[in-house]
């Protein structure tokens, strides 16, 4: 996944309302009205959030002009998750090496 696609994914995820919408869609398709229900914001505001999610490829919309149900698309999420996992691997490796140093100091102390 290209880095600019990742930036778009992360920018789309950087909002609690959009994350809540994605969490709802993980349970199945929903219309804009259904998605708007739990939020105290206007339908227009929900539509704007959906546009951001759609541009990021995180959701797709049905063709039915009136209902256009939203569906979760997981591919960009997997890209973002891979990316974070690699970062985590570097951190874990660093702290494994720090641990080796700590164990070495501990052994040296015991010998004295």
């Amino acid at each position: 996944m290209a880095e600019d696609e990742l930036s778009v994914t992360f920018a789309a995820l950087a909002d609690p309302t959009r994350r809540a919408i994605l969490a709802r869609l993980a349970g199945g398709e929903a219309t804009v009205n259904e998605l708007a229900e739990p939020f105290e914001i206007s339908l227009q505001a929900v539509s704007r959030h959906l546009k951001v999610l759609e541009r990021a490829g995180l959701i797709s919309r049905g063709r039915d002009a009136q209902w256009r149900p939203c569906r979760l698309e997981t591919a960009p999420l997997e890209g973002a998750s891979d990316w974070i996992e690699r970062y985590k691997a570097v951190q874990r490796d660093r702290f494994d090496r720090l641990d080796q140093e700590i164990q070495r100091i501990k052994r040296t102390r015991k010998e004295h």
Binding site: E3, L6, S7, F10, L13, A14, D15, P16, R19, A80, W83, I84, E85, R86, Y87, K88, A89, V90, Q91, R92, D93, R94, F95, D96, R97, L98, D99, Q100, E101, I102, Q103, I105, K106, R109
Partner: protein
């Protein structure tokens, strides 16, 4: 091998690391701040880590370099608080992105079984800065796993 928990939540400006070390707190603290040990663990594995300087006291500054065949990457900051063996608060800046500074807090907690819990929190100036830092880790992670794969191949030969 003990587990390092790395928490990178979408839309936040922080990264949190937690790790239990099987050693008393003073030993863990010493290993963490001792500049003579920094090259052993500070950077990603495929880089050589060089300590330019590290004045480990309140108000002191540090500067480390990561070097590989392609070049050098420098990082520096200032120690805001060194309270042995409990806490280190410092700034962190990649010289390739001047002005983007993170505040790092390391806390060491003694546990009843004689082990030590390390909690590291890095707070960035924006979500974008945080994600950018993790992005630089992506390439490192890739190279790192390649290096490990090479090690494995060498053993199989």
């Amino acid at each position: 091998m003990a587990h390092t928990e790395v928490i990178v939540e979408p839309g936040r400006q922080d990264i949190v690391l937690r790790r239990v070390f099987d050693a008393p707190r003073d030993v863990v603290f010493k290993a963490f701040v001792d500049p003579s040990l920094t090259p052993q663990w500070w950077g990603p594995r495929q880089y050589e880590t060089i300590v330019d300087h590290a004045d480990v006291r309140q108000g002191g500054s540090w500067r480390f370099l990561n070097r590989d065949a392609d070049g050098e990457y420098a990082f520096h900051g200032v120690f805001h608080d060194i309270t042995a063996p409990e806490r280190v608060v410092q700034t962190f800046e990649f010289e390739g992105m001047p002005g983007h500074v993170a505040l790092e807090t390391a806390v060491f907690e003694e546990r009843p079984d004689g082990t030590t819990l390390y909690i590291g929190t890095s707070v960035f100036q924006s979500v974008e800065d945080r994600d950018g830092m993790a992005a630089s880790g992506m390439e490192d992670g890739l190279q790192d796993s390649h290096a490990r794969f090479d090690e494995l191949l060498a053993k199989l030969r």
